[in-house]
Symmetry: C2
Subunit: 205 residues, 2 copies
């Protein structure tokens, strides 16, 4: 029996959506508390003191304990379920794609979505503008690697959907809001359809 | 019985060192193949085709399979050992710090070490120079969060050393090469000593 679960989130964040999608696919009930990151609500003193000293969402609250980092929260929910592969190598390979997501994918694909879709191009600082070309190239490289991998594998790790798919789905399926194009990434497009057809799937908004 | 393990690495990389340190603490023998990232040896066609299409080291070769991403490789080696906590929450909390390392720590602390110590300040591009202030602030924030956490916990996750400690130790203990100062981070300094005293510990070089 799991302790009471509360997701501290901003519903527009793909990182928060990962946790909702994992919980939905597993049929785990989860309460939601919303914060507006655009208003700095996760940098408020009370949030820093009680929820996450790192000032970021999502945070999964488990009873009276707090677990930041989206992919760690997904792992907590999914342990022992079919969303984590049974074999030792496949399990590590799933984590491989989850670390890839946080290092190569999210800082490029998610950040450009945030900058263009939420902040707005005209409001970007000079420092942000200077980083756009590198983030564009990094995001394209991450999407190209995924597309190549999905050309020979139905899912990112193992024979069925795992947390690696959930982690990468969250920002890939909305990447066009950041100026990326999916139309020529045929294998990614087919994979997006496979994820959206999973029993229990919920949309981001 | 584990399959034959080969670490594809550049010995100067902290990400590669994480895997060597994990293997050493667990007494797991591991073969090493060195590549010079400064000469682009991990972007060569053969490396991309056989070892890692993402063009990065480290990669842990397990028999004839290849596992990129340092923290995933550490997980593969450590499954079932005392380097991964036994409790469900503690295990997820360990992963939380490992994702934090790849998202908040490595891109700042490791990158500035690479830029200042290996590339050299006078050789930085304008684009790199423009990113230094943000990376300095991000790295200081990551170190401050660690120092605060280690003021009330002997190790990053759980009551004893885990993969979270190994992941964060790798670039923290050499962060001064990137212009960070450890002398006022007393809790980090004491923790570095605790890690270096672990049975089986090996130094980076």
């Amino acid at each position: 029996m799991m302790e009471k679960l509360i997701l501290h989130e901003d519903a527009r964040s793909g990182n928060c959506y990962k946790i909702r999608l994992t919980a939905a696919l597993l049929g785990i009930p989860i309460e939601r508390r919303n914060y507006d990151i655009m208003k700095g609500e996760t940098r408020a003193r009370e949030f820093l003191d009680t929820v996450n000293a790192n000032g970021r969402i999502p945070v999964l609250q488990v009873g009276d304990r707090f677990l930041p980092e989206s992919n760690a929260a997904c792992w907590y929910l999914a342990e022992g379920s079919e969303l984590i592969p049974g074999g030792r190598f496949a399990r590590a390979d799933m984590l491989r794609w989850m670390f890839f997501e946080q290092y190569n994918h999210e800082p490029n694909v998610a950040t450009l979505r945030f900058w263009y879709y939420f902040i707005g191009e005209q409001n970007l600082s000079d420092a942000q503008r200077a980083q756009v070309p590198a983030k564009r190239a990094g995001g394209e490289a991450a999407l190209a690697l995924m597309d190549e991998h999905l050309g020979i594998n139905a899912f990112m790790a193992g024979p069925s959907a795992s947390l690696a798919d959930i982690a990468l789905y969250a920002y890939t399926h909305v990447c066009e809001a950041g100026g990326f194009r999916l139309r020529d990434r045929h294998h990614i497009c087919a994979w997006l359809d496979r994820i959206a057809a999973l029993p229990g799937y919920v949309a981001m908004v």
